[in-house]
Assembly symmetry: C2
Homo-oligomer: 187 residues x 2
């Protein structure tokens, strides 16, 4: 029997997996979730506060999570969420599916590489060198973050992966800037 009031389907994506996963370990309220994401997972996923709140509502409508209001001192009431049984099952299914599926990478910053010949050689070289400096700084930062003590293995995995790819990007960029410096690229 079809639902009389049919909810828009849930997106089958990483953000759902993330919220369910965070709730599978323990109950949390919205603010807590957002705080964790912005502090620990900023480099792993891009999920804005407002999107997260809206998605939590949606997950609750789909009965994958349930909430109860909680008063904490004189603060505004919080909604504390927990995973339902259906939510736990969905979490495991989605996890298996997304672990098995390699997403296509779309690299930001590629379009400028296509058109860079439109810039005068001097400007192009300066821009590329600035980009290189930024990327070197980013790699250094990521290395430092990984060495931070107390990072659990599960969090380390995506960050190690990111570092591997960022290093590869750096290597690629060094090669290209080298070509530019040696003037091997058309005007």
């Amino acid at each position: 029997m079809a639902d009389l009031i049919s909810l828009p389907a849930l997106p089958d994506d990483e953000r759902v997996l993330l919220l369910l996963g965070l709730l599978s370990a323990q109950e949390r309220h919205g603010y807590e979730i957002n705080d964790f994401i912005s502090r620990q997972l900023g480099c792993v996923i891009d999920l804005k506060k407002a999107t997260a709140y809206q998605l939590l509502d949606r997950l609750e409508q789909h009965a994958l999570i349930a909430s109860h209001p909680a008063q904490h001192g004189a603060r505004p009431t919080r909604k504390v969420y927990r995973l339902t049984e259906a939510g736990h099952a969905h979490f495991l299914e989605l996890l298996k599916a997304r672990l098995a599926h390699e997403e296509v990478l779309i690299l930001p910053g590629s379009v400028s590489l296509i058109f860079c010949e439109h810039l005068p050689a001097a400007e192009r070289l300066m821009a590329a060198q600035e980009r290189l400096a930024q990327l070197e700084a980013r790699v250094a930062m990521q290395e430092r973050l990984l060495e931070l003590p107390g990072l659990p293995q599960s969090m380390k995995r995506p960050k190690t992966r990111l570092l591997a790819l960022t290093r590869a990007d750096l290597e690629w960029l060094r090669g290209w800037v080298g070509e530019l410096e040696r003037g091997e690229v058309a005007p």
Copy 2:
């Protein structure tokens, strides 16, 4: 003097750069642009047809591009766009800015890595192996695409970059699957 009718600002992003860049070489109509993007640039940028049409409208409202209607046989009238002078200037500015700026990479597929311990070891290993197979196939595909004759240098650049990062991803994944196979990961 502020605009009486203020247009929403243009996004300062790669899609604008792409459209301006494509029009900087020659006049094109919307369908042609979308066709080119979906055929040649599917792996470089994610820009849907409807978004592109809407963005072309917007660019025209901002007077960065101009259009004239063109009849072609008995086909529906097309709008043929060309870059204005302002558009050309904006293109060069944006190009310089985006070439100099290294965007943060956000890797899809990382969230499942965080929670993978929630899966039974056998399922986890199978999923990871399937992912590995997909990634190997993708690398092979990208290598083939790069060897296709007639690919101009400018198009080769983003694709070489993508291949470098995809290979790094493959290496990382091989390492992790190796650990899983040797049972080096917690239950």
